[in-house]
Symmetry: C2
Subunit: 526 residues, 2 copies
C-alpha cells in the first residue's frame, strides 16, 4: 500500500537531521579521502559511474538516507508510475515518458491502446519518414532533397532536444552520421525566428512545429512567422512543415503539414525528449540508429532506478543526497558543471527539468508544505566556468553543492600535446583538481588566499559522450528529479506556476489592464 | 577622506535593517501599484529607463539606502577609482576600464603614459587594422580577403565579447554593417576548438589569441591547436593570427602574429570588453563605428554613475536595492531575465562579472567578513525562461529577486501579426505580465493554483537593443557590481579563488598527487 506523506512527517527525516554532520574537508583530506573516493562510487548505465566521495555523507547518513528511501517508498512509487498509475494528480494523468525507451513493468493500456506500442509506432514513423527524406522520396516542391531541419517549439519542446542535438552534432560529423543540420526557434521575440531563418537555406529546410495542445502561443506565432517567411521566399509552406502534436489537437488533422507525429498527455514537456518531441528532430538530424542508442542508454538507466538498494541505485542516491543538502544542510542552489563543451546546453535543460518539476509550494494533494523544495539549478561547461563564476563557489560566503560530469575521452579525438599533456588530459586534470580544491580547500596566512573547503560535489564519469551515455545522463537526471519529488511529496509533473503570467499577458494584449499592469504596458508601448 | 568600512559597521546598515519591510503584493496591487510604477523610475543612458516599482522598497527604505550610499562614500570611491587610485588592493593595481570609453576625472598617468591615450591608441590601431582587412591591404597568404574572425580566449576574454557580438550580430546583418562573422573558442576541451574550426573556412579566417599574461593554459593550448590545424590545412599560421596581450607578455614580441594589440594590468578580464579584448574582435566583426557606439553608450552610463543623488543614479540604486535584498531580506540569488533573444549570452557574462567580482569572503584588507556578499546570478532570455524555470520563481518555496530587461522594438523589424498583435507586442506583454504576476500573485481556492506574489523585480526598458543601449547595459552592470563591492567593502577586482584549482590541476598533470586527488586522477585515466 502506497502512502504519500509529507517529508517532515517521515520518521527518518528527524533521524537524518539529528545525525552528526560530515566535515567534508577533514573527511576528504589524506588517506580517508582516498578511501572515500574508492568506496563511494556506484556504476550507472552505459559505462557511467556516479562518484559521491566528496559529498557531505558518511555511512551513518547513507544508512539514514536508505531508511528514508524505504519509508518514503521510493521504488514502490516509481513502480506505480511506470505501471500506469495517475501520478500526475493535479492534471489527473499517467506519467509515461519511460515507456518511450523500455518496458519496465506491466503493459500500460490507456485510451484503449498499449502505450508502449503507441510511442514506438511514432518513433518508427519518424524513422520511416527520415529514410524517405534522405533517399529523396520526400523532397521540396522542386524535387530537391532537404538538408536542414528546424524545430519550432518552446520550453520542453526546445531545451531537451536542443541540448541533445548539440551534445551529438560534432560526434555525428566525426562519425559521418550527421544526416541533416538542426536549428531551433523558440522565443516569441521575432528576432529569434528572423535570425535563425536568415541563417538557413530555406528552400531545403524542413520545419517541425511542436505543440502538444496545438495552442501554445509562442509556437503558433512562430509557425505563422515561418510560413510567411517561406511564402515570401516563393516557397510552399505546406511542403516544408511537419507537426508534432497530440492526436486531438487542431494541428493533427491539418493539411498544412507534410506529416504529423503524435504525442499524448502522459508525457510532460520537460520529460518529452524521448517522445516524438525529440524523436522526430533527432532522428532526422542524427539518424534512427543514433536516436535508438540514446533510448537504449536511457532504458538501462531506467532499469537501474528500480533497484531497492539505495547504494546500487545512482539516481535515487543522487536524489537523496540532494534532499539532504537542501533540507538538512540548507543549501538553496546546485551547480551542474559538465566538463564537456558538447554539453553546453545540458545545464539549461536540467534547469527546466528540475526547477519546473520541483519548484513547488504545495504537495501532491494541493496542500502547502513547510519545508524547502526544489533548489535553483544553474551551470556552464568547465573549464569555462572556472574562469567565470567559480570564484564565488570557492570563496563566496554561501556554499553551493556541485554536480560535475566528465569523460575520459573527447568526442572528436582531435587533440594536441602541449607541455607534456593533451587538452583532454588538461580538461580531466581540471575537474579532478576542482573537486579536491572545493572539498579540501587550502590554508594560507593571507586570508585572501585562504580556501575554506568543505564544499561538496559529486561527479559522473564516463568513457566518452556517446548517444548511449547521453541517454543514460538524460534518464539519470529525470529519475533523480522524480525521486526528489516523491521525497518532498510533490507532483513533479504539472506546472501551474506558468499559468498566471499567460493570463495576464492575454489581458495586456487585449488592453484589459489597470493599476501597475497598465503602467508597465504603457512603458513598453503595448 | 575615504574610509573603507565593513558593511556591518556602518550606522545606516542597522537603521536600514530596523525599518518596516514592504509588502510587495500589497504595495503593487491597485492604484498604489500604478503610482509606484510611475514614481520609482529613473532615466539611464542611451534612452534606457530603470524601473524599480516592483522592488521591495518604499520612500523610507530609499532614504535609508541614500544614507548608506553617503556613509559608504560610494561616489567618492568611484571618483578614487576613475582618478587612478590603487583600488585593486590585493594585486596593487589601478582599475581603469572606464577610461577606454571616457574621461571621467583627472588624467591618469601610469607607467609613464596617459592611460586614456594608451587605450584609445589601441582602439585606433584595431580600427586601422580592420580597414586594411576589409580593403584587402592585409590578406591571407594567397592574397585573398579574410571573411571570419575567431576569438581564442577564456573567461573575461570570451564571455563579454561573445555576449556583445551575439547581441549585435543580427542587428548588423540587418543594417548591412556586419563586416566579418565572429566565432569563439574558449574551453580547453579539445572538442571546442575542433568543433568550431570544423565549421570555419580556415583559409579566410583570422584568429585572435587573447591572454593578458600570455600564460593562460587554456588559451595557449588552444592557440597551439589552432596553429596545428591551420598548418594541417596547408596554411601558414603566422599569417592568420593576431594577439591581444600585455606589452610585457611573451606574445607581444613574437613574430608569429600578424599584429599585436595591447592591454594592461589595470583592466581585469571580466571588465575588459571595452579594452582591446573586446575592441579587436568587435571592430573587425561589426566595424569601428559600431564599437565606438557601444563605448559611447557605456561612457554616458559611466558619467551618470557619478551622480551623488541616489535616485538619479540608476547603477548605484540598482546596487543598493541588491544589497538590501541580499543582506536585509536574505535572498541568496538573483535572476537576470532579458526579453531579447539577442541577449541570449548576456546573463552568462553577468554571471561572471558579478560572481567573480563579489563572490568573496574577505574584505579589501583581506579580513574575513561576517555578512553575505555576492549572490548567485543566473538567467535565460524570456519568453524562453517562462516555459522553463519560472515555475520555481512563481511557486517555489524560496524567493528569488529578478532583473528584467525589455525593448519596445525588435532589432530586425521582421514581425507578424497573429490574433491581433505582433510578436514584439506579445514579447512585451509577457514581460509586463510577469512583473505583475510575480509581485501581486493571485489568490485561488485551489492552493496549487495559488500565487503568493511578493516576488520583487526591476526592469530596464529601452527603445531598441542598439550598440549604444548595449554599451549602456554593459556599463550599468559593471558599475552596479562595483558599487556593491564598495558597500560590502570588497576588492571586486581580484580573483584569488581561481588559483587553487589551477595549482592542483598542474599537480595532476605532473602526476604529483596523493589521497583523493590521486584517486580522481585515476578514475579519469590521467
Amino acid at each position: 500500500m502506497i502512502s504519500w506523506t509529507n517529508f517532515d512527517k517521515l520518521a527518518s527525516t528527524a533521524k537524518l537531521a539529528a545525525l552528526p554532520k560530515v566535515d567534508v574537508k577533514e573527511a576528504m583530506t589524506g588517506e580517508s579521502g582516498a578511501e572515500r573516493v574508492k568506496k563511494y562510487s556506484v556504476p550507472m548505465a552505459a559505462g557511467l559511474t556516479f562518484n559521491y566521495g566528496a559529498k557531505a555523507v558518511d555511512d551513518n547518513i547513507l544508512e539514514a538516507l536508505a531508511e528514508l528511501a524505504k519509508e518514503a517508498q521510493l521504488t514502490e512509487k516509481y513502480a506505480e508510475l511506470y505501471n500506469g498509475a495517475v501520478i500526475n494528480t493535479g492534471e489527473k494523468r499517467l506519467v509515461l515518458h519511460q515507456l518511450c525507451r523500455g518496458q519496465l513493468g506491466n503493459d500500460v493500456i490507456a485510451d484503449g491502446v498499449n502505450k508502449r506500442e503507441f510511442y514506438l509506432s511514432q518513433q518508427k514513423k519518424a524513422a520511416d519518414f527520415a529514410e524517405k527524406v534522405y533517399s529523396g522520396a520526400i523532397t521540396n516542391e522542386n524535387g530537391e532533397k532537404f538538408t536542414t531541419v528546424c524545430q519550432v517549439g518552446i520550453g520542453g519542446s526546445d531545451l531537451g532536444p536542443r541540448a541533445l542535438y548539440l551534445a551529438l552534432e560534432n560526434w555525428a560529423i566525426k562519425n559521418n552520421s550527421l544526416k541533416m543540420q538542426a536549428k531551433f526557434v523558440s522565443n516569441v521575440d521575432p528576432d529569434d525566428a528572423a535570425g535563425v531563418m536568415n541563417s538557413m537555406d530555406l528552400a531545403h529546410s524542413l520545419f517541425i512545429v511542436v505543440s502538444k495542445s496545438g495552442t501554445t502561443l509562442e509556437t503558433l506565432t512562430n509557425e505563422s512567422f515561418v510560413r510567411a517567411t517561406l511564402a515570401k521566399a516563393g516557397l510552399d509552406p505546406n511542403k516544408h512543415m511537419l507537426a508534432v502534436t497530440s492526436e486531438t489537437s487542431p494541428l493533427a488533422k491539418s493539411d498544412a503539414f507534410l506529416e504529423a507525429f503524435f504525442m499524448d498527455d502522459y508525457i510532460g514537456g520537460r520529460y518529452s525528449s524521448s517522445s516524438c518531441v525529440g524523436a522526430v528532430i533527432l532522428t532526422l538530424a542524427l539518424g534512427a540508429e543514433t536516436f535508438e542508442a540514446i533510448m537504449k542508454g536511457a532504458a538501462e538507466m531506467d532499469a537501474l532506478s528500480k533497484n531497492e538498494d539505495l547504494l546500487q541505485n545512482p539516481s535515487m542516491l543522487d536524489a537523496l543526497i540532494g534532499v539532504y543538502e537542501r533540507n538538512i544542510l540548507g543549501y538553496p542552489a546546485t551547480a551542474v558543471l559538465p566538463y564537456s563543451q558538447a554539453l553546453s546546453r545540458f545545464p539549461a535543460h536540467l534547469q527546466q527539468l528540475d526547477m519546473e518539476s520541483n519548484g513547488k509550494h504545495v504537495n501532491r494533494f494541493g496542500e502547502p508544505v513547510n519545508y524547502p523544495t526544489g533548489p535553483i539549478i544553474f551551470g556552464e561547461p568547465g573549464t569555462n566556468g572556472q574562469h567565470s563564476f567559480y570564484q564565488l563557489l570557492h570563496q563566496g560566503t554561501d556554499i553551493t553543492p556541485m554536480q560535475f560530469v566528465g569523460f575520459k575521452n573527447s568526442q572528436l579525438g582531435d587533440d594536441i600535446e602541449i607541455q607534456g599533456s593533451t587538452s583532454q588530459a588538461k580538461l580531466c586534470a581540471n575537474v579532478a583538481a576542482q573537486i579536491v580544491a572545493f572539498a579540501c580547500g587550502k590554508d594560507d596566512e593571507d586570508p585572501n588566499k585562504q580556501f575554506e573547503g568543505g564544499r561538496p560535489s559529486s561527479i559522473i564519469i564516463g568513457d566518452q559522450l556517446t548517444p548511449e551515455s547521453l541517454g543514460a545522463l538524460l534518464a539519470h537526471f529525470e529519475n533523480k528529479v522524480m525521486f526528489q519529488g516523491f521525497v518532498w511529496n510533490l507532483n513533479s509533473f504539472d506546472q501551474e506556476g506558468v499559468q498566471l503570467g499567460k493570463l495576464l499577458a492575454k489581458r495586456v494584449l487585449a488592453h484589459d489592464t489597470d493599476g501597475a499592469l497598465k503602467e508597465y504596458s504603457d512603458l513598453l508601448n503595448i
